[in-house]
C-alpha cells in the first residue's frame, strides 16, 4: 500500500503566475463601453481617452475606404450616415436572423439574406457582423489601455449580462479574439458591480443576498445574486430590454413639445437630456426651446416618470419572487448605470428594499471597475489569500466505466477553470472502439446521474485487453463550458465533444442531486460493490469462453465440458439475478475453483508448446 502525505486543502486548484501582469477589465455595453485597470497602489480606475472621456460610445461607423470610426466620432455622424453607423451591436451578438425578427423591425440596418446563422449587416465598407462591430470597440479600448499602461495586455475580463446565453457569451469571446485580446474570463455584469463594492471581501461566513439594479441608457436589468464564501451565484434576473434613461428623456421631451407647441422633436430630446441631468443636482431647472422658455421642477419631473420607476420596481418584485426571496432577505442593493443618478430612482429603490442603495462608485464605471479588480486577480497579481473564487462546478463530472459505474473526473465544488485527465484502457481483447459517456452528478451508478454527452473513440488499434492507453481529458473553462477529449496515446487517435454542464439545471435540482447522494451513500456503496462483482464475473466468464473456444476439444472430455458449462450457467444466473455482491463474489470463487484443473492443464500445455522444437541451447542463446 502506498504511503500518504498530507496535502493542503484543494491543493489541486490552478496555480497562477507570480510576476506583475498587465490586465484590464472591459465593460462592453449596449450604449457605452469602458476599460479599467488596477494601478500599482491596488486602486481600480477607468482609463480616459485623450479628451479625458472614460465612456466610449458603442458606435462604429464603416467608411467607403474600409476604415472605421469608433466612439464619439461615429456617434456624431450617426444621423447623417445611418446605414453605415452601427450602434447597439450588443443586442445582435450571438443572434441569428430568427432570433431578432422582432428586434430587427426597430433597427435601421440593412440585414443581408444569407443562409448563415450569423447576421450580416450591409455597409459601404462591406458586410459586417455584430461580432466584428464589437471587436472594433474592443480594439479601441485595448489600444487605450495599452497606451496608458505602456505595454501589451496579458489578458482581460469582459463583462456580459447575467442572462446572456451560451451563444451570446461565445460571440463575445469571438469578438475579443478578433480584437487580439486574451480573455481570462467573462464576468456577469452584476457580479462585477458587487466585486467593485468589495462585497465579496466582506469578512463573513454567512450568505449574502445582493440585488443589482442596473438602469442604463436603453435597458433595465435587475439581478439577484447570492454570495457564499466568495462564490457568486445568479439566483434570478429580470428587467426590460426596452426601458432606460432614454425613456425618461422622452417623458420630458413630450412635456416640452406640449408646453411650447413646437414640433422640433430632435432639439426637444437633447434639451430634455440636459434638463434631466441638471435635475440631479437642482430642484428646479429652466427649459429653453427656440423662443419658448419654461421651468421644470424636480417634483413635476418625478410625477412625469413615476410610471417608469414603478415598472422597474415591478421587475424587482418579480425577480425576488423567482429567487424565492423576500425584500428583507436582501443585504445589499448596488446601483449600476448612469440613469441611477436620478434622485427619484435612488429614493424609490431605497424605499422598495428598505435600505439605502450603494451609490458611492460612479454608476457608469462600477462594472468596469469590478472587471478590472477581477482581471488583476486572474493575472496573478494578488497573494493567494485574496484569491477570488468566483465560480465552482455545481455537480461532479465523470465518465461511465464498465458495469454502469461512474468514475468522477472532476469533483463538485472544484473552482474553474480546471483541467483533469485520467487514463483508461480497453476491457476486451481487440476492442477497437470505446464509447465515452460524460455524466454529471454525485451518485455511483450511471442511471442515477445526468447524461451530458456521448461520443465514440474509434480506430483504437487491436490489442489485448488492458494494453491500450486512453487518456480522457476534462477541461472546464472559466465560463463553465466543458470540453471532453479522448486520446489513444500509442496512436494519437483523438475524439472530443463540447458541452455546457449547467444547461437546463435549476439550483433546486442541483441541491436535490447532492442531497440524494448523501442520503443514498450506503445504498450506493452496495450498488458499487455489486457492479464491481458483476464486472468481475463477466471477466471470468469471458476468459472461460475464450479458453474453451480455442482448445476445449483437445483438452477436455465431455464430462469435464459439462461440468464447466454447468458452473458457467450457475455463475451467469447469479450474476444476472442476484442483488447481493457477496453472493456474486462467492459464485466467481466457485467458478474459479471448478475451472482450476482446466487452467492448470492449459498452462502446462502452453509451456510445452513454447518449448517444442527447441533445444536447450536455444534457450541458453535467448538468455544471452
Amino acid at each position: 500500500m502506498a504511503l500518504f502525505q498530507i496535502s493542503e486543502p484543494g491543493e489541486t486548484a490552478p496555480t497562477e503566475p507570480q510576476e506583475k501582469q498587465l490586465a484590464a477589465g472591459i465593460d462592453l455595453g449596449t450604449t457605452n463601453s469602458l476599460v479599467a485597470t488596477v494601478d500599482n497602489e491596488g486602486v481600480a480606475e477607468t482609463l480616459p481617452d485623450e479628451q479625458g472621456e472614460s465612456l466610449l460610445p458603442s458606435v462604429v461607423r464603416y467608411l467607403e475606404n474600409g476604415q472605421t470610426e469608433v466612439g464619439t466620432a461615429a456617434k456624431n455622424s450617426q444621423l447623417n450616415d445611418i446605414d453605415n453607423t452601427i450602434s447597439s451591436a450588443k443586442r445582435l451578438l450571438g443572434r441569428g436572423i430568427g432570433d431578432i425578427k422582432t428586434l430587427a423591425g426597430s433597427l435601421p440596418y440593412k440585414f443581408s439574406d444569407s443562409d448563415s446563422s450569423v447576421l450580416h449587416i450591409q455597409t459601404v465598407g462591406g458586410e459586417v457582423t455584430a461580432i466584428e462591430v464589437s471587436a472594433e470597440i474592443l480594439k479601441t479600448l485595448k489600444n487605450r489601455a495599452e497606451d496608458a499602461l505602456d505595454g501589451p495586455l496579458k489578458g482581460v475580463v469582459i463583462t456580459v449580462p447575467a442572462y446572456f446565453d451560451d451563444a451570446q457569451r461565445q460571440a463575445t469571446k469571438d469578438a475579443a479574439r478578433l480584437a487580439d485580446l486574451n480573455v481570462f474570463r467573462l464576468l456577469n455584469e452584476p457580479t462585477a458591480a458587487a466585486v467593485a463594492y468589495g462585497l465579496d471581501q466582506k469578512d463573513t461566513l454567512e450568505e449574502r443576498i445582493i440585488a443589482v439594479y442596473d438602469l442604463g441608457g436603453g435597458t433595465f436589468d435587475i439581478s439577484i445574486l447570492k454570495l457564499n464564501k466568495g462564490v457568486f451565484e445568479v439566483m434570478a434576473t429580470g428587467g426590460d430590454s426596452a426601458l432606460g434613461g432614454d425613456d425618461f428623456d422622452h417623458a420630458i421631451a413630450t412635456w416640452i413639445l406640449q408646453e411650447s407647441g413646437s414640433d422640433l422633436t430632435h432639439h426637444a430630446m437633447s434639451e430634455a437630456r440636459r434638463v434631466k441631468e441638471a435635475l440631479t443636482n437642482d430642484d428646479q431647472v429652466s427649459v429653453n426651446l427656440e423662443n419658448w422658455q419654461g421651468t421644470l421642477s424636480l417634483a413635476q419631473f418625478n410625477e412625469m416618470v413615476a410610471s417608469l420607476v414603478k415598472k422597474t420596481l415591478l421587475a424587482c418584485r418579480r425577480a425576488l419572487r423567482d429567487a424565492d426571496l423576500s425584500k428583507e432577505q436582501v443585504h445589499d442593493v448596488v446601483m449600476v448605470g448612469g440613469s441611477t443618478r436620478m434622485p427619484i430612482i435612488r429614493e424609490k429603490v431605497g424605499e422598495f428594499f428598505d435600505k439605502p442603495p450603494l451609490v458611492d462608485i460612479d454608476p457608469d464605471k462600477v462594472v468596469a471597475i469590478g472587471a478590472a479588480l477581477q482581471a488583476d486577480v486572474l493575472a496573478g497579481n494578488k497573494p493567494d489569500e485574496e484569491m477570488l473564487l468566483l465560480d465552482v462546478i455545481p455537480l461532479s463530472l465523470g465518465l461511465e466505466t464498465y458495469g454502469g459505474l461512474v468514475e468522477k473526473v472532476i469533483a463538485r465544488n472544484t473552482t474553474i477553470p480546471i483541467t483533469r485527465a485520467q487514463e483508461f484502457t480497453t476491457f476486451k481483447d481487440n476492442q477497437t472502439a470505446m464509447t465515452v459517456h460524460v455524466l454529471q452528478g454525485e451518485r455511483e451508478t450511471v442511471e442515477e446521474n445526468r447524461s451530458l454527452a456521448k461520443f465514440a473513440l474509434k480506430a483504437i488499434p487491436p490489442m489485448v485487453a488492458g494494453a491500450a492507453r486512453i487518456k480522457v481529458t476534462f477541461q472546464v473553462d472559466a465560463d463553465g463550458l466543458l470540453n471532453v477529449e479522448a486520446e489513444e496515446e500509442t496512436t494519437g487517435v483523438k475524439s472530443n465533444v463540447d458541452v455546457k454542464p449547467s444547461y437546463g439545471l435549476r439550483d433546486t435540482e442541483i441541491e436535490g442531486m447532492i442531497r440524494d447522494s448523501m442520503d443514498n451513500a450506503q445504498a450506493d456503496m452496495e450498488a458499487r460493490r455489486l457492479r464491481e462483482q458483476r464486472v468481475e464475473a463477466d471477466r471470468t466468464l469471458e476468459a472461460l469462453d475464450s479458453a474453451m473456444k480455442s482448445d476445449s476439444d483437445k483438452m477436455l472430455n465431455n464430462d469435464e465440458i459439462k461440468l464447466l458449462l454447468e458452473a458457467r450457467t450457475e455463475l451467469k444466473n447469479i450474476k444476472d439475478n442476484s442483488e447481493d455482491s457477496a453472493e456474486v463474489k462467492a459464485a466467481i470463487k466457485h467458478m474459479e475453483k471448478v475451472a482450476e484443473f482446466y487452467v492448470a492443464r492449459r498452462m502446462n500445455d502452453n509451456v510445452k508448446t513454447a518449448m517444442q522444437g527447441q533445444s536447450v541451447s536455444d534457450f541458453a542463446d535467448t538468455d544471452n
Binding site: 504511503l3 486543502p9 464491481e532
Partner: protein, 107 residues
C-alpha cells in the same frame, strides 16, 4: 464505529499541523480513481462543512464528508517507515483489495 490514529500517526499529524500554523484538523476522504476504483485523500482541514462528521482521537479532529464515511468507517490511520519512504497508511476494514500501485482500492 470511528476513525482513529495510532500513536505514531497522531504524533506526526500534531507536528504537521503545528508546523503549518493553522487548520482545524485532518480531512480524510475517498475519491473514485485508478484501476481499482477508489483512492484516499489526506488533506489539512481549514473548515468543517455542515454535513461532515468529526471524530476526535488523541486530541485531534478527523473530518470526513458523509459520502466518504461509508468507505472509511472503522479505519485506523498509521504512520510508518517503509524503506526510504515514510508516510501515512490506512488500515481500512472496508477495503477488500488494492491495485498493484497501491493508489486505489476496492471495497
Amino acid at each position: 464505529m470511528a476513525i482513529t490514529f495510532t500513536d505514531a500517526a497522531a504524533e506526526r499529524v500534531s507536528a504537521f499541523l503545528a508546523d503549518r500554523g493553522k487548520g482545524v484538523g485532518l480531512r480524510l476522504a475517498t475519491k473514485t480513481y485508478g484501476c481499482s476504483g477508489m483512492a484516499y485523500v489526506v488533506e489539512f482541514a481549514d473548515e468543517v462543512e455542515e454535513t461532515d462528521t468529526v471524530f476526535e482521537d488523541h486530541g485531534l479532529k478527523i473530518i470526513i464528508d458523509p459520502k466518504s464515511l461509508v468507505y472509511l468507517d472503522g479505519t485506523e490511520m498509521d504512520y510508518t517507515k517503509e524503506g526510504l519512504n515514510e508516510g501515512f497508511k490506512f488500515n481500512n476494514p472496508n477495503e477488500s483489495g488494492e491495485c498493484g500501485c497501491g493508489e486505489s482500492f476496492t471495497v
